[in-house]
């Protein structure tokens, strides 16, 4: 049952990164890809109806972590205190900038909102990467399952590298979305931008393999122990190549889907490589939080899987409905 919830949690985080990832990426890039005024308007319009729903995956994912692994929730959130409060402030600024932008028809106000939206999107992509990097690297947990990382220890070289990678991956994802959804020059610039960003993405992906295995050597063993999990790195690799292939052919929808597959493959590889750890200690330290010692009581987990499954089916149904409504190709409108 703990394993089922580990998979559920990984799936929700993946859904969050794939969905909110494109509006974070588009937000981070639009300061460069779109000129102030009309063009930027189009970018925020494209994500206006859906960004809020996308962000719910983060909240619902947090809820599932709290529900299934309260000890990991408590340890990770208190230990990464500064990072998480920073995420909150960025989410507040970003949400307000997006929602209030069109309330006032004044070029200065709109530029200010665009800047807040763009920079907070960019910072969020980096901060999420840094948080993920710290989880993979492991944190100095004590016997009670808590830790304290001063700010400059949160910003260690490995986590910073993952943060940079997160930014590039989400920027590419966002550029591919704009290449699909935007019109005119923005679309062309986004497609060109995505092709350039792809090289950085591929370079960083390759460059991160060795550091990851050096901070967490058992990751490879855990994948090899369950050979079927090797489909995840394979999925990531296929996705990465497919972005390039479809991007060059100008098949925007497929390129975007390939990017989604790349992200899903990466996150699944990470999850499978950490399993059964959920919040690992530093390499060689015995206090790591695993799905067993961090899980809630088994009765609660069994009951919750029933209503959670129903809730997820409903949520997916709403999303399919909303995306069919708002994401009909721009040219058909």
């Amino acid at each position: 049952m703990e394993t089922v919830w580990f998979v559920a949690l990984a799936a929700m985080i993946t859904a969050y990164v794939v969905l909110d990832g494109f509006d974070l990426g588009a937000g981070a890039l639009h300061l460069w890809l779109a000129r102030p005024g009309e063009e930027r308007e189009r970018v925020t319009e494209a994500i206006g109806p859906v960004w809020n729903g996308n962000e719910v995956w983060l909240i619902a994912g947090g809820g599932v972590l709290f529900l299934a692994f309260p000890r990991a929730y408590a340890g990770a959130f208190s230990g990464l205190y500064f990072g998480l409060i920073l995420v909150l402030w960025l989410l507040i600024g970003r949400g307000l900038a997006l929602e209030l932008r069109h309330q006032l028809d004044n070029p200065l106000w709109r530029s200010a909102c665009d800047a807040v939206f763009g920079l907070s999107s960019l910072a969020l992509a980096v901060v999420f990467g840094i948080a993920l990097g710290n989880v993979v690297r492991g944190v100095p947990l004590n016997a009670e399952g808590y830790f304290h990382l001063p700010l400059f220890d949160i910003l260690n070289w490995y986590a910073l590298l993952v943060g940079l990678f997160g930014l590039v991956v989400l920027a590419t994802h966002g550029a591919l979305l704009l290449a699909l959804r935007a019109r005119g020059e923005v679309r062309e610039r986004a497609a060109r931008g995505a092709r350039r960003l792809w090289w950085a993405e591929a370079l960083l992906a390759a460059g991160l393999i060795w550091p990851t295995l050096s901070v967490r050597p058992d990751m490879l063993d855990r994948l090899v122990d369950h050979p079927w999990t090797l489909v995840f790195p394979l999925l990531a690799l296929t996705g990465l190549v497919a972005i390039l292939v479809f991007g060059r052919r100008g098949q925007a929808l497929r390129a975007f889907a390939a990017s989604a597959a790349f992200i899903a493959g990466l996150l699944a590889t990470m999850a499978a490589g950490l399993y059964p750890d959920i919040l690992p200690a530093r390499e060689g330290d015995p206090n790591g939080l695993t799905i067993d010692n961090a899980a809630a009581g088994s009765h609660g987990l069994e009951v919750a899987i029933v209503w959670w499954s129903i809730g997820m089916l409903l949520a997916v149904a709403y999303f399919v409905h909303a995306y069919r409504l708002f994401f009909t190709p721009a040219s058909e409108r």
Binding site: G62, V64, L96, L104, Y146, H299
Partner: protein, 476 residues
């Protein structure tokens, strides 16, 4: 709590607990200003949208028997309030996310202790309410031109259902913290779910939910009436304003009564039964008494353990709690100080402010409804002024009610199971200076957010509703 001089209560709180509590007080109080209106408005928007979509002349159901002109006004009213709802909802979302996060960042030991139980209701909120609400709000706001009138109406109803479901899961969580049920203790001293049925049928839950949602709807009703009054006083948007006033005043009267009886009465009875120290603090009752009076006005003095300058109704408190004029009500002197709320005066004043305001709302709404019935409401400037000025106080009443519930529960974060000082994040993991910094940050951010909120709401109100137009026809 330690009593160092006779009757003198000194609260000793670690600096970590102090800043954690201040930060949560700030963020949760500020947050609730938005959902209270979202939940209230969602109800009225769904109502107006239903009138617009399903109303016709000669409808069998009388509330939906509407002329084309009335339906056009209802459509214009629902569209206008949807604009306010959109801004309000956005502020509710961005200020709501910090609450869930803070359970982990600032209340890690509480999360670790109680996550096995309240993780259920909090995760249900995200799963069942937030997805529904956020997706259909998108349809309601952006979809008017893309979807059929039926789907647009359904979206309004879905936003209402989502908002009220969200409230239900939060109240279920809070009800468990007030009155824990359906749990067992595990080997590590934490609580785990024993029965989801018991958690969701907590006897504390129904009345707290109905009382709380009544408060949200009452806020919505007074806001509706206030805008109607504002437009009539400014001599503009007459049809729109009358529609808002009519619905607002009638709903405000019904809800003012609902807040006092049955929901307020039953909720107070729950507190009386299960949280004696809280109840005694709310009423400012130090001495245990038979035939205890109901205090209308008075100032609690915890040093002397008396209530000063009182105006009271003899024996009424005993009657209200037990339907018996001479029954016994336990006072604070018979409860160990370690179990007193750490600020008795705050609980006392918050409760009395709520009840006092509730009484005033009943009078205003009653007068307004009377004038409406006599056909004189729209021309009565003093009444319109009273309705316009009343709405901010509904926010104060809601916050005062929550203050009573939350400060009244102290010194427990989970009543009887976990003291608040044991619920904070371990100080070695989150030092108090760190929290102080983020508390200041939230303060600054929220001051800025408040300015923007007021600015944009004032703009929307100044522009006023779009002229009424014929709504799309519902299938006859």
């Amino acid at each position: 709590l330690t009593g160092s001089a006779p009757g003198l209560v000194i609260v000793e709180m670690s600096s970590e607990e102090t800043v954690d509590r201040l930060q949560f007080t700030l963020t949760v109080t500020y947050h609730y200003l938005f959902p209270v209106l979202t939940m209230g408005l969602a109800l009225f928007i769904a109502y107006f949208k239903t009138v617009s979509y399903a109303g016709r002349e000669g409808h069998r159901f009388r509330p939906l028997r509407k002329t084309a002109a009335e339906r056009a006004t209802a459509e214009s009213v629902s569209r206008f309030w949807t604009k306010i709802l959109a801004v309000n909802f956005a502020f509710g979302v961005v200020t709501g996310v910090p609450l869930e996060f803070q359970f982990g960042t600032n209340w890690a030991q509480f999360s670790n202790f109680a996550g096995g139980v309240i993780g259920q209701t909090l995760a249900m909120e995200g799963t069942f309410a937030f997805f529904l609400e956020s997706v259909f709000l998108g349809v309601l706001l952006f979809g008017a031109a893309r979807v059929s009138p039926r789907v647009h109406w359904l979206a309004a109803v879905a936003v209402f259902v989502g908002a009220w479901l969200s409230g239900w899961f939060i109240i279920a969580t809070n009800a468990w913290m007030q009155h824990p049920v359906g749990y067992t203790a595990d080997a590590h001293g934490r609580v785990q779910l024993d029965s989801l049925g018991d958690l969701l049928t907590n006897p504390w839950l129904p009345w707290q939910y109905l009382h709380n949602m009544g408060g949200a709807a009452l806020t919505g009703a007074f806001v509706l009436a206030a805008l109607g009054a504002f437009y009539l006083l400014s001599d503009r948007n007459h049809a729109f304003a009358r529609s808002c006033l009519r619905v607002g005043v009638v709903a405000a009267l019904a809800l003012s009564i609902w807040m006092i009886f049955p929901t307020g009465d039953r909720q107070a009875h729950n507190v009386f039964e299960h949280q004696p120290a809280t109840f005694a603090s709310m009423e400012g009752l130090f001495e245990t008494e038979r035939g205890a009076p109901l205090v209308i006005v008075g100032n609690p003095n915890t040093r002397e353990r008396t209530l000063e300058s009182t105006i009271e109704m003899p024996r009424l408190l005993s009657f209200l709690t037990s339907r018996n004029w001479t029954s016994r009500v336990r006072g604070l002197n018979d409860i160990p100080e370690r179990r007193w709320p750490d600020s008795v005066p705050l609980v006392y004043y918050a409760y009395h402010i709520m009840v006092g305001l509730g009484t005033i709302f009943l009078v205003i709404a009653g007068l307004g409804a009377f004038l409406l019935w006599r056909g004189r409401l729209y021309g009565s400037r003093p009444m319109l002024w009273a309705l316009l000025l009343a709405f901010p106080f509904t926010y104060i009443a809601n916050i005062a009610g929550w203050t009573t519930a939350e400060v009244g529960r102290q010194p427990w974060v989970v009543y009887g199971l976990l003291r608040t000082e044991h619920g904070i994040s371990p100080p070695e993991s989150v030092p108090s200076g760190t929290t102080l910094f983020t508390l200041l940050g939230f303060g600054g951010l929220y001051v800025l957010a408040s300015i923007l909120f007021v600015l944009f709401i004032v703009r929307i109100v100044a522009r006023g509703p779009e002229p009424a137009r014929a709504p799309a026809r519902a299938p006859a």
